[in-house]
């Protein structure tokens, strides 16, 4: 075979490897900040492809999508243009855990994102496989493709996803492959080891897809979308919302004892249990065979049938992720109510892939070993489109800032779920594909879906990712919230007959004296809309998002204040930096475990050090004193 001839390609500021959900956000952020950006993908028809569930958002994840939007990213706008169903989850619970989720039209989602990339002036989208990096003296200077191209760049972001030495497993069948039978990247991650990066193998999986024409929907329960408008992007107006009749429903069915028996009798053919699968899978998204084994006493498991798009009859069987042989998958499907005659279109599969152990990353997502090299998404051990996109935008921002010679941006845990996720990854690492859950955030009352813009849009504007027009709209919204809260703290509700009739109809004590409107609104049953019946309306009617913000801020003020006090304490700790060149060997008296962990993770602040398991308060005390001593020694 003739040898591939190397050639010098163009120069770029930023190169992003992989155009999945992480890669597209990284490339768009870098390009929009003014960097000449190259986005490489193995297959242009798989840009922003959804190889697993056809949905975006949900608890914690939905808030990440809002955070991406608040920073000027694309995921929210893209799903707002291509969803087939929208639902707000957890509406009966508190404001911190409400979560928006959309069912996506997979093809439309991909096509829309690809078009957005094509329209971006500073961005070049190109098909090809990146085999290696150009690294000189520990500094990344570009990439080398399978076609022989050498592209140089100031910074490189790797978001290789499951293509990184991917291996698909279906029963006894096993082959190298990226997601959905795409070509895998067999060389890139192997070469990362050459530069000293430590890799491990993770596993994830996807369920079979069936032909919707063969589903008996009558045997299942309909799960429609919401009538009330909601979008992910703060920019999408309510009038764009799809009427319920134009949305597609999902359908709920269950496994049963017959299903479980089929699985049990075929466990000897299940790669999960025969030792074929080496990679570590996620606990929160177990395969159906795993569920049957681990929860043997459950007589049924939920399954959601979800449409893959408008112009297809392919349906996704949520909850039935499996790597059983194709023959068994069909038997399983046919044992389920509503799927008795379902035609399998694509079998489910497990996929193993390479990940970079995330303790090797800085909070900016730059690798510690190779300067100017960043990694994002599944490459860092996460799972989920939203988690990938959240890291993607942060990696793109930091790669872009470095290329521009500017200071990096690290989102704090108190500023967003994205900050929580990245801090968890680089501080604690992960032993399984990492998924965001609301319980991972210690400040979840502050990290709400309604206030992502208040938390992050000023930063997005500062970075050049939010236009002046949008920023001015944001400032107006913020002002409207402040003004109305101030007004409600001066206007009084008087104990009129009408007020007391209202109050008593909600089984609460009638008013004897007038109370501040804000005080009145604090009562659990009282809404802002109700309140306006008893006080004069504001000069201009308020947007529903402004009203939502006001209600939350007033009703939950006590809890929010407590959380903010904790955040303030934490910020003091974040301010205590650990010098980058610190020699932990030189610190006498650290416990052995603490010493090893500190040396491995190399935290950047005292706050980060306290979050490392095995580093106890005495170690932190010694570390603080050591650093302070060094600081004084330098001054003298």
């Amino acid at each position: 075979m003739p040898e591939i001839q190397a050639y010098q390609g163009q120069d770029f500021d930023v190169i992003v490897v992989g155009a999945g959900h992480a890669g597209v956000e990284a490339a768009l952020a870098a390009a929009r900040m003014g960097n000449k950006t190259l986005l490489m993908t193995i297959n242009l028809d798989m840009v922003a492809f959804m190889p697993c569930n056809p949905s975006v958002g949900g608890p914690a994840k939905g808030i990440v999508v809002r955070e991406i939007d608040a920073l000027g990213g694309e995921m929210a706008r893209n799903i707002d243009k291509t969803y087939v169903q929208m639902r707000m989850l957890n509406t009966g619970k508190g404001p911190a855990v409400r979560a928006l989720r959309a069912q996506a039209d997979k093809h439309a989602y991909h096509a829309e994102m690809k078009h957005t990339l094509e329209k971006e002036p500073n961005l070049t989208l190109r098909q090809g496989i990146v085999d290696d990096l150009i690294v000189e003296d520990g500094v990344c200077k570009g990439v080398i493709t399978n076609t022989g191209a050498h592209y140089s760049a100031k910074t490189v972001v790797i978001a290789a996803g499951t293509a990184a030495r991917g291996k698909i497993i279906i029963g006894e069948l096993m082959y190298s492959s990226g997601p959905n039978n795409s070509q895998p990247a067999m060389k890139l991650t192997k070469n990362l080891e050459k530069y000293g990066l430590e890799l491990k193998r993770f596993k994830t999986g996807t369920p079979p897809r069936v032909d919707g024409n063969t589903i008996n929907y009558g045997e299942t329960q309909e799960q429609p979308g919401d009538k009330e408008p909601n979008h992910f992007s703060y920019e999408t107006p309510d009038e764009n919302y799809l009427a319920l009749k134009n949305q597609l429903s999902c359908w709920l069915t269950y496994t049963n004892e017959t299903t479980h028996k089929i699985i049990r009798t075929n466990l000897d053919r299940a790669p999960m249990f025969t030792g074929v699968i080496e990679g570590v899978g996620p606990r929160y998204c177990p395969s159906i065979e795993d569920k049957i084994v681990r929860f043997a006493d459950k007589s049924r498991h939920q399954l959601f049938l979800e449409p893959e798009g408008r112009k297809t009859d392919e349906w996704y069987v949520q909850g039935l992720s499996t790597s059983m042989p194709e023959e068994v998958q069909q038997k399983i499907l046919h044992s389920i109510k509503g799927l008795e005659n379902a035609e399998l279109m694509r079998p489910g599969y497990a996929i193993e892939y390479d990940v970079v152990s995330p303790y090797q990353l800085r909070p900016t997502l730059e690798t510690k070993l190779v300067k100017n090299l960043y990694t994002a998404g599944q490459t860092n051990g996460t799972s989920g489109y939203e988690e990938a996109a959240g890291q993607g935008i942060m990696a793109g921002i930091n790669a872009g800032l470095r290329a521009l010679g500017k200071e990096p941006y690290v989102m704090k845990r108190s500023e967003g779920y994205i900050g929580v996720m990245i801090d968890d990854l680089v501080t604690k690492g992960t032993n399984e594909p990492y998924r965001l859950l609301t319980s991972r955030a210690e400040y979840r009352l502050i990290l709400r879906h309604d206030n992502a813009d208040l938390r992050l849009t000023p930063k997005g504007h500062e970075l050049g990712l939010i236009s002046d027009d949008r920023y001015n709209d944001f400032l107006a919204k913020r002002q409207a919230v402040e003004d109305e809260i101030a007004r409600l703290n001066t206007v009084r509700v008087k104990p009129s007959a009408e007020v007391n009739a209202y109050v008593e109809s909600h089984n609460e004590k009638p008013l004897k004296d007038g109370v501040l409107a804000a005080e009145f609104l604090r009562r659990p049953q009282v809404t802002y809309k109700d309140l306006l019946r008893f006080i004069p309306a504001p000069e201009t009617p308020l947007d529903r998002r402004v009203i939502e913000e006001i209600e939350i801020r007033i009703k939950y003020a006590g809890y929010i204040k407590k959380a903010e006090e904790n955040v303030a304490k934490m910020k003091k700790m974040e301010a205590k930096k650990i010098p980058e060149d610190i020699d932990f060997d030189a610190i006498d008296g650290l416990a052995t475990e603490a010493h090893q962990k500190l040396d491995k993770i190399r935290p950047e602040t005292i706050a980060q050090a306290t979050r490392i398991s095995g580093v106890n308060p005495a170690d932190i005390a010694i570390l603080s004193v050591y650093i302070e001593r060094g600081r004084i020694a330098k001054i003298h």
Partner: protein
């Protein structure tokens, strides 16, 4: 979580432990005033001038009862040792009152200071110079070793079992709330309602209340800590008892009913009142009524909260000694090695092995040596480590534990008031989680992924 502990307001007894004289409880940090003022009857401390000393009383805010007459020094940042706000409570009520005041300060939100922590803060805030840094680090290192051992000792026993059970109960509730939030469409699990949460909060609060009831050291003052002095004949039990009695520490309590004829049963050692079990037996066995000696010892051990085992250093270990060492292995005990003024014939290596970490005090009753160490050890066991009383009923005496239990209980009050105010489950849960964390601080469990582990093992989720 220890994340923000660097900026907690901290408190500790600043004077060496011992009876009599003045004890000082030092409080330092942003919330020093908040931690002391609710307990202080006297001038409004936040209104007085800095660097003044103020007369008043410490009261227990729950019962409104007076704990002690005190002087409080008020020193505002930055002209203080730590460069933080510092309040010092000077009291004169002895160890029990000192500890009670410390507990009260902790229950107001202060944290018991780590070893060397005041000095560490002084250094970090630029108060002391470079040459002292090494000394500070040595201090932290040295004391950490000791406090780690203490923490381990506290970990076994009924208290930690009880707390662990409570935490597991709460954890299951928390996991259920979390699974409702993160998997809202998952229908296999009962939805956690505020009603269920309220029931759980009440249940846990009752359990904590039970524990706190035992925490009143006053109860011990009244009843005495059941203590058995055991040993084979002629090792010096009687002398020890007489030594304790003659030290003018006999009486002991002013409680009605303490009459002359029971005087021998009560001694006050290092501030801890001991109720001696079977004093008759002590004399009898020395009177060489040997048949009943061993059996009697066993009964005494069974009835005691604390065992003082006396051995004779001038003779090799006997089978009876070994039996007693074995019988007391699971008890809170102190070993007195008597007659060390004579040539030592006892096998120290074997004794150390059998003692298995128990404090061994070298003593000579005839030379009046070792009594001070015994007193020190008893008060250390009682105040620092905590002794269980009443055979299996957990008793909390450690100031840090009591403070944390009170904070856990307050978190539950917040759960209940949140529910009463109509707050949704996921907000009320914030306070439930706080309760869980406070209890975890007692047992030293702070494994952060505990909740997720629980969630994924309890529920089969997947959307």
């Amino acid at each position: 979580m220890t994340t923000t502990s660097e900026f907690d307001t901290i408190a500790a007894v600043a004077t060496p432990p011992g009876e009599g004289g003045i004890s000082i409880i030092r409080v330092s940090g942003d919330h020093a005033f908040e931690a002391v003022m609710p307990l202080f009857k006297g001038k409004a401390l936040d209104k007085v001038k800095s660097h003044t000393i103020n007369y008043g009383h410490i009261i227990d805010p729950e019962t409104q009862s007076e704990v002690d007459e005190v002087m409080v020094s008020v020193m505002r940042a930055p002209r203080t040792y730590t460069r933080e706000d510092v309040l010092e409570i000077n009291c004169h009520g002895g160890l029990v009152a000192t500890n009670e005041i410390l507990q009260l300060v902790i229950s107001q939100g202060a944290r018991l200071a780590e070893p060397g922590e005041f000095t560490k803060r002084a250094f970090l805030n630029g108060r002391i110079d470079l040459s002292q840094a090494e000394a500070v680090m040595d201090l932290i290192r040295a004391k950490t070793d000791r406090s780690m051992k203490v923490a381990l000792n506290q970990l076994d026993g009924n208290l930690s079992r009880l707390i662990k059970n409570l935490r597991q109960d709460i954890l299951e509730v928390l996991a259920q709330v979390e699974v409702n939030i993160d998997y809202p469409e998952y229908d296999d699990v009962e939805t956690m309602t505020t009603k269920l949460l309220l029931e759980k909060a009440k249940e846990v609060k009752a359990s904590i209340g039970q524990l706190l009831k035992t925490a009143k050291q006053g109860k011990v003052l009244r009843d005495g800590l059941a203590t058995a002095i055991v040993g084979r004949p002629n090792v010096g039990k009687s002398s020890l008892l007489n030594e304790l009695l003659h030290e003018d520490k006999a009486i002991v309590t002013d409680v009605a009913g303490t009459t002359r004829d029971v005087i021998e049963e009560y001694v006050n050692v290092g501030g801890v009142p001991l109720k001696l079990v079977d004093t008759a037996g002590i004399h009898h066995t020395d009177d060489k009524v040997e048949k009943i000696g061993v059996e009697r010892s066993k009964q005494a051990i069974a009835a005691a909260d604390l065992v003082v085992l006396v051995l004779n250093a001038s003779e090799p270990l006997t089978a009876e000694d070994r039996q007693l060492l074995q019988d007391t292995a699971d008890e809170k005990r102190i070993i007195i090695l008597n007659k060390t003024d004579l040539p030592i014939k006892l096998e120290m290596t074997e004794l150390n092995q059998l003692a298995n970490g128990t404090k061994i005090i070298q003593a000579s009753m005839t030379k009046n040596q070792g009594i001070d160490q015994l007193e020190g050890e008893i008060s250390h066991l009682f105040f620092d480590e905590g002794i269980e009383t009443g055979r299996g009923n957990v008793m909390v005496t450690n100031a840090r534990h009591i403070g944390l239990l009170k904070q856990a209980s307050q978190a539950l009050d917040d759960v209940m008031s949140g529910i009463a105010a109509g707050m949704p489950v996921d907000l009320v849960q914030i306070d439930m989680t706080r309760c869980w964390n406070k209890l975890g601080e007692i047992t030293g469990d702070s494994y952060q992924d505990e909740l997720l582990d629980q969630l994924f093992s309890q529920f089969c989720v997947g959307k």
